[in-house]
């Protein structure tokens, strides 16, 4: 009986609830019907923003000068907003890298790989804040698109062959003094996320075996010295940018958004790092043949690649530092097209000529290779050239992955050397070949547009060759120095037992996948 009573009560309460909800719903509909025809102030948006919004001594009646000031301010404001928002997009490439690198490595190391990708962001940023930015942009001169501020004006220069060779800048440490300026802060944010892109590339090539403490020290060096010095030579008004003015080599070394400055830098650091740190246990057999060590999460790698491709719109189109430079449409479209042909080329190459399967991890590498290769030339080439550059990049990356593993005998779990190093170099050369002379008038202080070899300026191609050679030599040597230094002081390798067990607990103290039983795929292969 007791049970029956409570059942009735429950039923009654349910009925009450139903009528309550109906009542509420009816009240909502009545209210909406009542307010639907209320007066709209400016629903079409045509009347908002007019003469009274221009700052003027007499409100609503601005003088011509006051109008001109507002127009100028607005133009620079558009450039600021564009550059900042694109910087935010590039910042979002960090999780892209984290996912690609972690997806292509084993489940027993996910905490470690993710933590490296995470901590490089703060570590690199602070290093860049302390002195990296000053060394890179301290001698930049006028920041044209951001209002013409000229406070970053101290470049350390040596004289060679009777010409000045700018080596590094000396203003803007800690963003204080003359660097405490809105244009400089915009530059810092935008350039910082570029530096962090370089910095996070080697964490993939050195994944699954690198001591976390060694990685942290590397993170400081890449942000303070390795990246900023070469960056100064190309983007900070240094000697590579001046090759045009000083030696009549095209427009000097031109790298629109960083095929060499960002990606080749990261690739060369990866190359040296993979060589010094050595392969993962079990990667190579005694006869030199390689054992595959499958990554644990293809979906993660694919999503990471998409995130990177999304962030790349900020990377390339944002590098105008100007939303009012309408070339941004060409840049963004070229970027998109090269990513597509890159992915297509590597898919077809694997499918037709290599394993006879359309390999997903190689498709991802192919898309990234296309993006890296179009990064330097994106502003200077037409759409057909962009497609060709992506196609070549997609094949180049696959063959390079084979070459690095089978000929160089280097262990690069994610293909960072091939994607960023090889295709970064190729991207710079592609600019020297395909730049069609429709853009870049006055680039690096040289009159006329940027033209490649195929459009009549072989000297531009020559300048590109000098640029990538300088990159390889400088970045190679300084990273060799840094990696050797770390090796001597604290050592790069985790102990073998930790590497076999997985670095998550020995290095980080926490498993990445708690409560998940790992299968045979997470084990280390036996070297034969």
């Amino acid at each position: 009986m007791k049970g029956d009573n409570s059942m009735t009560r429950v039923k009654k309460r349910n009925r009450l609830n139903t009528s309550g909800v109906l009542l509420l719903f009816g009240a909502l509909v009545c209210t909406l019907l009542f307010v639907v025809n209320a007066y709209a102030a400016d629903a079409s948006g045509t009347a908002t923003g007019a003469a009274q919004d221009i700052t003027a001594a007499t409100a609503g009646k601005p003088t011509l000068e006051e109008i001109a000031n507002t127009v100028g301010h607005n133009k620079i404001a558009i450039n600021f907003v564009w550059t900042l928002v694109c910087g935010f997009l590039v910042m979002f490439m960090q999780p892209g890298f984290a996912m690609v690198e972690t997806g292509l490595t084993r489940a027993k190391n996910v905490s470690h790989t993710m933590a490296m990708n995470f901590m490089i962001y703060p570590l690199g940023m602070l290093a860049f804040y302390v002195c990296g930015f000053a060394l890179m942009f301290g001698g930049l001169g006028v920041i044209g698109t951001l209002g013409g501020y000229a406070g970053l004006n101290h470049e350390f220069t040596v004289n060679l062959f009777g010409k000045p060779f700018g080596l590094f800048g000396l203003k803007g440490f800690f963003l204080t003094g003359s660097a405490y300026d809105v244009a400089v802060f915009t530059m810092f944010l935008f350039q910082m996320v570029f530096m962090d892109t370089t910095a996070t590339i080697p964490t993939g090539a050195l994944a699954e075996r690198w001591k976390f403490s060694a990685f942290c020290i590397y993170g400081v060096f890449v942000g303070t010295v390795i990246y900023p010095i070469f960056g100064n030579w190309v983007w900070g008004g240094g000697w590579l940018a001046m090759l045009g003015q000083n030696f009549h080599l095209g427009h000097g070394h031109v790298d629109f958004a960083g095929s060499s400055v960002v990606h080749m830098c990261g690739g060369v650091i990866s190359l040296v790092g993979a060589w010094i740190v050595g392969p993962r246990l079990g990667k190579f057999n005694k006869d030199g043949s390689a054992n595959p060590i499958p990554g644990h999460n293809i979906p993660m790698a694919v999503i990471g690649t998409f995130i990177l491709a999304f962030g790349w719109f900020g990377f390339n189109a944002g590098s105008t530092l100007a939303g009012t430079d309408l070339r941004i449409s060409v840049i963004a479209t070229n970027t998109m097209l090269a990513s597509a042909t890159g992915a297509l080329a590597s898919m077809l190459w694997m499918w037709l000529f290599r394993t006879k399967k359309p390999d997903p991890s190689m498709m991802c590498n192919g898309m990234l290779a296309g993006l890296v290769a179009i990064t330097a030339p994106c502003a200077f080439v037409n759409s057909v050239s962009a497609c060709i550059i992506g196609l070549i990049a997609g094949v180049l990356v696959v063959e390079s992955v084979y070459f690095v593993e089978r000929k160089l005998k280097l262990d690069d779990p994610v293909g960072a050397i091939s994607v960023h190093g090889v295709n970064g170099a190729f991207g710079c050369l592609a600019l020297g070949l395909f730049a069609d002379g429709t853009y870049g008038d006055g680039w690096n202080g040289v009159v006329g547009t940027v033209k490649g070899l195929f459009y009549g300026d072989p000297s531009q191609f020559f300048a590109q060759c000098i640029g990538i050679t300088a990159n390889f030599i400088y970045v190679g040597l300084i990273s060799l120095l840094v990696f050797k230094l770390i090796d001597v002081v604290i050592g790069h390798r985790t102990n073998p037992a930790a590497e076999i067990e997985g670095l998550d607990i020995p290095e980080m103290g926490v498993q990445g996948y708690v409560g998940v039983k790992l299968d045979k795929h997470s084990e280390t292969p036996l070297s034969r």
């Binding site: 054992n291 595959p292 499958p294 394993t355 390999d359 190689m362 992955v401 293909g415 045979k520």
Partner: protein
């Protein structure tokens, strides 16, 4: 009493269980296992290099039945698990000395 251990494809578990229910079998034990048969695993590729996966995921189904039911149950499993491809699995049959129902302490066939 006999124990029938059937190592089958994981995709065939539902079909085999349904066939066992239909054939009137009592309790069923299922274990996810890894292993290989005569073919010694499977070839896979990772970034352009082939490698062998020596242990494949399989499912082991165990049932203990009366002696007279062995043939019927075994046939039910074989029919339900067969695809005709390599890797369909194996069935092993062994004798069971004794069975005890924990709740009542009953022994022998009645405990099944």
């Amino acid at each position: 009493m006999k124990k029938i251990e059937a190592i089958i494809q994981p995709t065939k578990v539902d079909a085999v269980c349904a066939a066992l229910e239909a054939a009137g079998s009592g309790g069923i034990m299922i274990t996810e296992i890894q292993g290989h048969g005569k073919q010694k695993g499977l070839k896979q590729q990772w970034r352009g290099t082939e490698y062998k996966v020596s242990f494949l995921p399989k499912t082991k189904i165990e049932v203990v039945v009366k002696d007279q039911d062995v043939d019927r149950i075994m046939k039910a499993i074989t029919n339900a698990a067969r695809t005709g491809e390599i890797g369909d699995g194996k069935i092993f049959i062994s004798s069971i000395e004794e069975a005890v129902r924990v709740r009542t302490g009953e022994r022998g066939d009645i405990a099944l």
